[in-house]
Symmetry: C2
Subunit: 231 residues, 2 copies
């Protein structure tokens, strides 16, 4: 699950399976790949992410394992299984990871796999092949409950951001309106933001101040306690 944010809504990176299955109409699915014998789960997730986006050192966290047995019958639907010719009816277990990336930083990696990758607004995704919708929903739930205890949202924002951008992100994650005054107070009190000198420019209104995430200060806090992030 690769989440992105464009300042307004949450996006998810999907892969068009069309190229791999000529006889099926264009259909988007979650990215994924088989694990190699010489890597652990985290490494595999990092590799797949890198193959797709060209990005590394990204927030990446496991959120669950999935594996219904009826997948066995569907080998022909799972392009990546074609590589495993030695196993006639492979049972597939998916280990789900989610990553949060800055869409602004993101450039599609010109690898063959990534050519047919596409950002889709989270809210517009109503159907996905296999159990991918279940996986998607599970990852969102995980993202939400994680956001309640850690300020992970920073990974989705640009390096410098305004408090309103951040507010919009949180509204997108929790899918509800949040009072901006209370939000500001809470975020500021956490003491993990540095207010920059720089302001927005070229806007036809009062420019917003830019802030930056102070990771060092954040880690100090983490050791000595526990965040609560509820809105």
């Amino acid at each position: 699950m690769i989440f992105g944010f464009n300042g307004d809504q949450i996006y998810v990176l999907l892969i068009d399976r069309e190229n791999q299955l000529k006889n099926v109409i264009s259909e988007y699915a979650l990215p994924g790949n088989l694990i190699r014998d010489d890597e652990n789960l985290d490494m595999a997730a990092e590799r797949v992410l890198k193959e797709l986006t060209g990005l590394s050192v990204i927030y990446l966290e496991q959120f669950g394992a999935f594996g219904d047995p009826d997948r066995i019958k569907k080998k022909e639907d799972q392009p990546w299984l074609k590589a495993v010719r030695s196993i006639p009816n492979a049972r597939v277990i998916t280990v789900g990871y989610y990553s949060l990336i800055r869409m602004s930083d993101y450039e599609l990696n010109p690898s063959s796999f990534a050519k047919n990758a596409k950002w889709m607004p989270l809210n517009s995704i109503k159907k996905l092949p296999f159990d991918h919708l279940k996986i998607l929903n599970s990852s969102i739930e995980f993202l939400r409950s994680n956001t309640k205890i850690k300020p992970i949202g920073f990974n989705l924002l640009p390096e410098k951001f305004t408090l309103n951008q951040m507010l919009k992100l949180y509204e997108a994650i929790f899918n509800k309106k949040i009072d901006n005054r209370n939000f500001r107070r809470k975020i500021i009190n956490l003491n993990i933001l540095d207010k920059l000198e720089e302001k927005q420019s070229g806007v036809a209104h009062k420019p917003a101040n830019y802030y930056k995430f102070n990771k060092k200060r954040y880690e100090t806090y983490l050791e000595s306690g526990f965040f609560k992030f509820e809105f």
Copy 2:
């Protein structure tokens, strides 16, 4: 991970591998088994739990997947892999589930597998084979953060319990002293306990009142919100 509570500390059910490996001194490991082709992950976890404890309809939740590649070299250390003769060097991915069971309800199931099962105090477990210690620690972390948002502790207590028993359980889970007066107030205010008529007997002091968990009321609350359980 099978957690139990005896009124004083948290226990974990371990399996003695001795019977399976004659040339190794007695060594305890986490219970586990291979998944079957016709079951999903949840079903497999339930089955293994049932094989071990004879219990079903137990609190059971997935907490993570684990799989370092160096396991490949250790097939001879993994008794259950002997069943898979067709795969010379099987890569093993563990999907971890944890369950909470009432030690009082528990009777060792007289199956061959369970004969060498043993309850071990959580705090006394300093070393386990393979990556089992990592898995154990991960499950405890999961148990803690889960206990902070849901009152899952009831699954570890007997049907009828006193508030002090419950307090002791929470102290064991979080590994710290909790003020009993504040604890009581908080728990009572949640409104998910039924105070019974029955009291403790045979104690040389004021007997404690028994309480019972009201699951129905709890579920009503769940729908309309979210628990917070911090001490």
